[in-house]
């Protein structure tokens, strides 16, 4: 990467494009997180359950994100794998207040990481332990232990507790993600 590129990036004239796949179980808060990350003028008031998927765009200084917000409902989860190939990053949202379904999230994550389109690639994975505000919620450390994130060897990953309703923790995560993409 030449000096010119560096300067160009420094002044934000040519932003990097990144396609991110946002997955997670139903009701974990994927659409709410993405809605919160979008510029204020295009946020929507009501978030309803996603059917199929939606494509959203937002940007941080340096990276222009195109997010595929996948539906997390059981019957749509088999759509996820069709978008693995083009994804440059994965955003995995966990409902940290739903202890019972952590195993389901782990099962879905294991299937994702074991998919041929993902397994050999070194794309970054960002985890949001969402709903941190709820009293019975798991901490991000507990989540990473339950999901056995330490077993992910060939990918960069990061987990952060978040509250999509207030936006807490989201920017930390997205900052990490854009740093990873800029590398």
């Amino acid at each position: 990467m030449g000096l010119l590129d560096y300067f160009a990036r420094l002044f934000g004239s040519s932003k990097k494009e990144a396609q991110v796949l946002c997955v997670g179980l139903d009701n974990s808060g994927k659409s709410t997180i993405i809605n919160r990350l979008k510029p204020d003028e295009s946020t929507s008031e009501d978030i309803v359950a996603t059917v199929g998927f939606t494509v959203e765009r937002f940007q941080t200084p340096g990276v222009r994100f195109t997010v595929f917000d996948m539906s997390g409902q059981g019957r749509y989860r088999n759509l996820w794998e069709h978008y693995y190939k083009d994804a440059q990053a994965i955003m995995f949202v966990i409902d940290s207040s739903d202890k019972m379904r952590v195993v389901v999230a782990k099962e879905e994550l294991d299937m994702l990481l074991d998919h041929p389109d993902i397994r050999v690639r070194t794309i970054p994975v960002l985890f949001f332990a969402n709903k941190m505000d709820l009293r019975e919620s798991l901490t991000s450390v507990q989540c990473s232990r339950l999901l056995e994130l330490e077993k992910i060897k060939n990918k960069q990953w990061h987990i952060c507790a978040s509250n999509a309703l207030t936006g807490e923790g989201l920017h930390e995560g997205v900052q990490w993600l854009s740093d990873q993409i800029k590398l």
Binding site: L25, D26, N27, G74, R75, R77, N78, D98, K99, M100, R101, V102, V103, V104, K106, E107, E108, M111, E136
Partner: protein, 599 residues
């Protein structure tokens, strides 16, 4: 309590075998609390979104210790969010929508004793009491007299006991039954004094509970309650006013109910009863109709489509059509503890889950075992359905009081082990048939052309063979050439053997009377031989009386007189005095004699 009971059984099941059990890999272990201190059964478990937030809760009526500490517990996910005390032992729990008010919140119905408690928003809402039954007039009269102090407690006791002994135990009121249980006089007096003033009432007990959609079949449509009672009746209750819509009679006490249809249109109630029979009720019927009789007591009843599946005490799972025709039986490896229907909405099939006494849960689609789960403990309560936000969740309560939650994996597939109907696959395989040779073709042609005559020839030869055989047999019988006598008057067995190498041999003849009680008398043993070749020491042996069963041996020396190395046969005859034909004959092939060596 249940904790102690379950301790010894299944304690040897090690965890690694459970982890590696093949069927368990289709399920995710969402939760396992072995010390949840739950004592409940399938009928006392239900899933429902009772707070209307889109998440199904688990409603459990906990039987506590069986005498006290009965509670209605509600789990949201794995956390207990509410507990309500229940006064009496719960026999069933169901959830139902009783109105169309928004937000749609279902009510919980808990059957306990003669009452049906209805909870709404987790608060007691209504208590329905089953109508009281008629009191035995004699019993009523006795208590009336006791109230007026006309009779004393011992007389009261005797009279009540006589009613009980007439076989009307179920016809007595609870008050009389409790009175009869008291032993000493003081207790009886204080009990009688305390209770004789009150009105005598006889109440029945709810044995089973289910719901029936009223006029529309949607999941959140208003449902009626169907209640089976100890007084052999089925009540259908209106969910809004809690009035009895229909009352129907059953020949025996209903134990398990399976309700389908709509109350206003057409419905069918299938019930298994305490007498081991299955009855059905339809709209408009006053008395239940016998569907089929079982040869073992039912321990679970489920309906899958149009079939009735009954688990029996003899470790079988039996399937019947609604007309009562038996379709199939599956023999299980252990006794059944409980059953539930597994309705897999995503894949669109229904199967029956059967919990067994060996700690396994088997899943049967039709009669094919499609999955089996192994657990650490005996399962007493089993419920499959939507729990939380997960559609296919299995909740199990164990004998030791544990609570287990398993979630079916999204991509789990079930295969019928032998779903291919018709001939087995091996029948389709082609055999390596060698090419037809000319000889083969000629032979085939010949067989085809002369088939009839070949068959006739074969039959002809067969008949001749049979005839020859029969003739030889008759001849043998006639001349008594056999070593066993066929004459029933002289049942004798003969065995002769020759010993030695020659030229002198010893001939041993053993005779046995084979009859049970009849001795043989006047027998002689004689020999037929070539006199030029052999000379016998005794040519005739007189046989003494033969006692039945004993073996007699007779010996004689035989000398071979030839040194030319030839041998002949010696025939041994057992003859009776005064008869020309021998009774039995033995033929001895003599060995070739060694030549005399002069030392």
């Amino acid at each position: 309590m249940s904790v102690e009971n379950g301790k010894n059984e299944l304690s040897n099941v090690d965890k690694s075998s459970i982890m590696s059990h093949e069927g368990n890999t289709k399920w995710l272990n969402a939760h396992n609390d072995p010390v949840a201190s739950l004592y409940t059964f399938s009928s006392c478990m239900a899933f429902s979104d009772i707070s209307g937030d889109g998440e199904a809760k688990l409603v459990i009526a906990d039987l506590g210790t069986g005498t006290f500490d009965m509670k209605l517990k509600v789990y949201k996910g794995t956390t207990l969010i509410s507990e309500n005390a229940i006064i009496d032992l719960p026999t069933g729990v169901c959830t139902f929508y009783m109105d169309n008010n928004e937000p749609r919140v279902p009510a919980i119905g808990v059957a306990s004793g003669p009452y049906l408690y209805v909870y709404k928003n987790l608060r007691p809402y209504f208590k329905f009491t089953l109508p009281p039954l008629d009191v035995n007039p004699v019993e009523q009269d006795l208590w009336n007299q006791a109230r007026e102090d006309k009779i004393d407690v011992t007389v009261l006791r005797e009279m009540l006991d006589s009613i009980r002994r007439e076989g009307n135990e179920g016809a007595l009121t609870v008050r009389s039954l409790k009175f009869l249980m008291l032993q000493d006089r003081e207790q009886m007096e204080s009990f009688a004094n305390l209770h004789k003033v009150g009105q005598l009432r006889r109440q029945t007990v709810i044995t089973c509970l289910d719901t029936l959609h009223k006029s529309t079949a949607e999941d959140d449509a208003i449902s009626c309650l169907v209640v089976g009672t100890e007084s052999r009746e089925i009540y259908v209750l209106d969910p809004e006013a809690f009035t009895i819509l229909t009352k129907m009679a059953v020949p025996s006490v209903p134990v398990f109910l399976s309700v389908s249809g709509l109350y206003d249109v057409e419905f069918r109630i299938v019930m298994s009863c305490r007498n081991g029979n299955i009855y059905t009720l339809k709209r408009g019927m006053k008395m239940a109709k016998l569907c089929f009789e079982l040869n073992s007591q039912p321990v679970g009843l489920q309906r899958v489509g149009k079939n009735i599946i009954v688990g029996c005490m003899d470790q079988t799972l039996q399937c019947y059509s609604t007309k009562g025709k038996k379709l199939w039986t599956v023999y299980l490896p252990a006794a059944i503890t409980t059953m539930d229907v597994m309705h897999h909405r995503l894949k669109g099939f229904k199967a029956v889950m059967v919990a067994l006494r060996n700690g396994e849960v088997h899943v049967y689609r039709d009669k094919f075992l499609i999955n089996s789960i192994k657990t650490e403990d005996i399962i007493t309560g089993l419920k499959f359905g939507r729990f939380g936000r997960e559609d296919s969740t299995l909740v199990m309560s164990t004998k030791r009081g544990g609570l287990m939650v398993k979630i079916l994996k999204r991509n789990a597939t079930f295969e019928d082990k032998d779903s291919v109907r018709g001939p087995p696959a091996s029948q389709q395989q082609k055999l390596n048939v060698p090419k037809k040779t000319k000889v083969f073709v000629d032979q085939t042609m010949r067989e085809r052309e002369h088939g009839v005559s070949m068959h006739r020839m074969f039959q002809h030869d067969l008949y001749r063979l049979r005839l020859t055989t029969a003739r030889a047999f008759v001849k043998a019988l006639d001349s008594s050439l056999t070593p066993v006598s066929t004459n029933p008057n002289e049942p004798i067995k003969l065995a002769a053997q020759i010993q030695g190498i020659g030229p002198t041999f010893k001939l041993t003849v053993s005779l046995q009377n084979t009859s049970l009680s009849k001795p043989s008398m006047g027998l002689l043993i004689s020999f037929l031989y070539d006199e030029k070749l052999y000379s016998l020491q005794k040519t005739m042996i007189a046989v003494p009386l033969l006692v039945p069963g004993l073996n007699y041996t007779f010996e004689t020396l035989v000398e071979c007189m030839s040194d030319k190395g030839i041998a002949d046969v010696i025939k041994v005859f057992v003859v009776k005095e005064g008869r020309s034909t021998p009774i039995i004959t033995a033929v001895i092939n003599m060995p070739v004699s060694e030549t005399m060596v002069v030392v």
